[in-house]
């Protein structure tokens, strides 16, 4: 089931920028439409929409989340079997295999290559056959201000 956009949409175009499959079309300042054959239900549009105009496949209202609070994959290399399914599952291609810097193991392990590109869809976690990936909000490094 595809996501949909209601007429609450103000046509800001934020979702267009984040849709990994270019499924959202629409003129600026006008109501946008999601192409139902293309939508992969990653939910990025729902998370970014400032006016809560996106409904998910079941028709529920999507709640916007601040981009810094989007969940990102965390890899457990102990469970990982380097099958690369997650890399292929990622609709934005932000994962890549690389050797662990410390280990002698010649096998590569997946990691977030392009953290900014990640849209937090969780497809990698859901397709991982060994549950080596969990989605979590990245810990924000708290900057110590003048007030401690």
């Amino acid at each position: 089931m595809s996501f949909t956009i209601t007429d609450e949409c103000n046509g800001c175009g934020a979702c267009v920028k984040f849709c990994p499959v270019d499924a959202i079309r629409g003129e600026k300042q006008e109501v946008h439409v999601i192409h139902d054959m293309l939508c992969i239900e990653c939910g990025a549009c729902g998370r970014i929409c400032p006016v809560e105009a996106v409904r998910d496949g079941e028709g529920n209202r999507c709640v916007p989340v601040r981009k810094s609070m989007w969940e990102k994959p965390v890899f457990n290399h102990k469970n990982c079997i380097s099958c690369t399914i997650c890399i292929d599952a990622c609709p934005v291609g932000c994962l890549a295999l690389a050797r662990l810097p410390t280990a002698k193991d010649p096998h590569g392990y997946p990691g977030l290559k392009d953290e900014k590109a990640c849209i937090g869809c969780g497809f990698c976690a859901s397709e991982c056959p060994t549950d080596a990936i969990t989605m979590a909000v990245p810990e924000i490094k708290v900057k110590r201000g003048a007030h401690g």
């Binding site: 990994p20 499959v21 270019d22 192409h35 054959m37 293309l38 992969i40 239900e41 079997i81 380097s82 099958c83 690369t84 399914i85 292929d88 609709p91 934005v92 291609g93 295999l97 690389a98 050797r99 010649p106 096998h107 590569g108 497809f123 859901s126 397709e127 991982c128 056959p129 060994t130 549950d131």
Partner: protein, 651 residues
């Protein structure tokens, strides 16, 4: 709502430049699975009898597997299918990398291309649309370079399958490449792609693949992954040769458990067998005339798996593969990086030509991968040419000054280059040894080793008659990836399928060479099973784990929501085999003509080495094998009765 498969295919007609989508009824998937089965069904129906393999009527099919993208492991193989210009019959080739899921992510189970384009084009498919684009800028470029250019043009998530120079020049031993030099090499389908002037298929979809019960698939995968990760310390690579020599002396044979082979694969890749195979007689040497006495352990020491492993920068994992038998290696010369040469390449370019210059093998491997030429066929053709030269059938004048002697790596490289460019003698050899022998004439025919035109893989039927059988009986002859007695041991199918003979852990070596009904049953089981595996898109090396450890049938059930028994799947496998055979019959192939050259089956037998004095009763085995499918045991043609029984409608 289909599960596991996408339910539709893409059809492209290059002549009319039309592209259309077609829904495939569920019953087809239920009867033929996806992947190879789907392609066999469509191609059998649609390619007109007697069509020119390099003409517009031939259909080139890129298919993914039924299990690809469902979360099952080892499901990263894609297949290219068509009428083979090399054998004139059914042709398919199989490759890993990341192209297989890409087909499904565009929303198709297969892409079928017919017609001939006027100008070089490439097919660009996304989840939304498909179009033909001009490819004149990449035409003439090698496969790796062209792939890089196309990826740069269409986005980093693009997956590309394409031909190199060999395919463009319609070399009948050319294949189709993807992922920087992996190649679906056999059956000469690169030439078909070249004849269509289709440089590449570029896929860039992101669709999700439906799965009936993802959790169940994952549960099975998790268990299987545990088996794959299990690794024990192994002997050093240099010792493998002595292990092989030891096995040569033993009068008894140990049934090989796939777990052991898996550990070799995980550590060294297929190259683990480089030396061992020569020693135990599994690898052909000196164009099938020699043995470990000609190519001693000292000579083959350069192919020691540890030496290959030293150059590994990182292991290469195909899609969904936890094993990682491949590797990206550093190499000297023009190309900084290369895929690690596989066992077949090392033997074909090494032992078969008596070449022990490992640097040249690395280089040739990369050269052939980039040109999109089959390393097995190319190596075998070079070995054929060397034998011709040594026996005086061709002279220095014919070779253009090349000193084509056994093991002359410089001459071998020059020859392969000439074959890729189709220059001088290379033009004569570029279509494989059978065609070359015809062109050279005279005695040359007696030096060519092939089955139905295709050079057999680098496993000796005199050591394991199962190979000889499958080289000869398969609709795609000369293939080492279908079955052998060793494969049967490793598949351990008897553990899940009733009625199949079981193999005891130890048996007398002599029993291996008798042709009897049991062997035929085993051979037929391998063929059926591999059809299921190729329909599911699984990797052969995964299935070596053994039927209990790799849940092939359970995965299919969990992913599709069917509930079938392994026996039912084996029946589907048989059906696919019959369709492929019918395809050959339709195109006027006499199955008997695919018989492997006598030399490779021990006729005349070798006088020394591991396989001395052995002759395989190939004709007897073939008869029994055909009987297993209910085909005519003399001609190999499926009888009307067997066709009806397997539920094939010839409409």
């Amino acid at each position: 709502m289909p599960d596991a498969y996408m339910g539709s295919i893409l059809r492209v007609d290059l002549s009319g430049e039309t592209i259309s989508e077609e829904r495939i009824p569920d019953s087809i998937y239920e009867n033929y699975l996806s992947g190879l089965g789907l392609a066999a069904y469509i191609l059998f129906k649609e390619i007109p009898a007697g069509a020119d393999p390099l003409g517009p009527d031939n259909i080139l099919g890129f298919v993914s597997g039924l299990l690809t993208g469902t979360g099952s492991l080892f499901a990263g193989r894609w297949m290219v299918t068509g009428k083979s210009p090399l054998t004139g019959g059914w042709g398919d080739a199989n490759c890993g990398g990341t192209f297989s899921p890409a087909i499904k992510r565009c929303g198709y189970d297969g892409i079928f291309i017919r017609g001939i384009s006027e100008n070089p084009v490439y097919l660009y498919v996304t989840g939304e649309k498909a179009e033909l684009r001009d490819a004149s800028h990449v035409w003439g470029k090698d496969a790796v370079e062209a792939e890089k250019m196309l990826v740069a043009e269409t986005g980093p998530r693009s997956r590309v399958a394409l031909i190199g120079e060999a395919g463009e020049k319609r070399s009948l031993i050319s294949g189709i490449c993807n992922d920087g030099g992996r190649i679906a090499a056999r059956s000469g389908l690169g030439a078909v792609m070249g004849s269509k002037r289709l440089k590449a298929v570029v896929l860039n979809g992101a669709k999700r693949i439906p799965v009936h019960d993802r959790d169940a698939v994952h549960k099975l995968s998790g268990k299987c992954g545990q088996w794959v990760r299990m690794q024990s310390p192994l002997i050093p690579g240099g010792m493998m040769a002595y292990l092989g020599a030891f096995m040569r002396f033993l009068p008894v044979q140990m049934a090989l458990d796939g777990m052991l082979y898996k550990m070799f694969l995980r550590k060294w890749g297929t190259g683990s067998m480089n030396q061992m195979s020569v020693e135990m007689g599994d690898a052909p040497v000196k164009n099938w005339l020699g043995s470990h006495i000609d190519f001693t352990a000292k000579k083959s020491a350069a192919t020691n798996p540890d030496i290959l492993k030293q150059r590994e920068i990182i292991k290469y994992h195909c899609y969904a593969c936890p094993l990682g038998c491949g590797g990206i290696c550093s190499t000297k010369g023009k190309y900084a990086r290369t895929h690690k040469p596989e066992y077949e390449s090392v033997i074909a370019l090494g032992g078969l030509c008596m070449n022990n210059d490992i640097e040249s093998i690395f280089y040739l491997n990369e050269l052939l991968n980039r040109a999109g030429m089959d390393t097995i066929s190319a190596g075998a053709t070079v070995a054929f040419a060397i034998e011709c030269y040594e026996s005086g059938v061709i002279t220095r004048h014919d070779t253009g000054g090349l000193e084509l002697t056994w093991g002359n790596s410089t001459a071998i490289v020059e020859l392969v280059r000439a074959m890729i460019r189709r220059e001088g003698i290379g033009d004569i050899l570029a279509d494989g040894s059978r065609k070359a022998a015809e062109r050279i004439g005279g005695d040359a025919k007696s030096h060519a080793v092939h089955a139905g035109g295709q050079e057999p893989g680098m496993h000796d039927g005199r050591d394991d008659p199962g190979y000889a059988l499958h080289y000869s009986v398969e609709p795609t002859p000369g293939r080492h990836t279908i079955g052998s007695f060793m494969y049967y041991e490793m598949f351990q199918l008897w553990k899940v399928i009733k009625g199949l003979p079981r193999i005891w852990p130890l048996y007398m070596k002599g029993s291996k060479y008798t042709a009897n009904k049991k062997k035929a049953v085993m051979g037929a089981a391998c063929s059926r099973f591999m059809n299921v595996v190729n329909g599911a898109g699984l990797c052969l090396f995964g299935t070596f784990l053994g039927a209990k450890r790799i849940p092939t049938f359970d995965w299919i059930n969990a992913a599709t929501g069917w509930s079938r028994t392994p026996e039912e799947y084996m029946e589907i496998g048989g059906r696919i085999q019959t369709v492929k055979q019918l395809f050959n019959i339709k195109h006027g192939i006499e199955p008997n003509n695919f018989l492997l050259t006598g030399r490779a089956t021990g006729d005349p037998p070798l006088v020394e080495g591991a396989n001395a004095g052995r002759t395989v009763d190939i004709k007897g085995m073939i008869r029994d094998y055909w009987k297993q499918f209910g085909w005519d045991e003399k001609t190999g043609k499926p009888t009307a009765e067997s066709v009806i029984r397997s539920g094939i409608r010839e409409d």
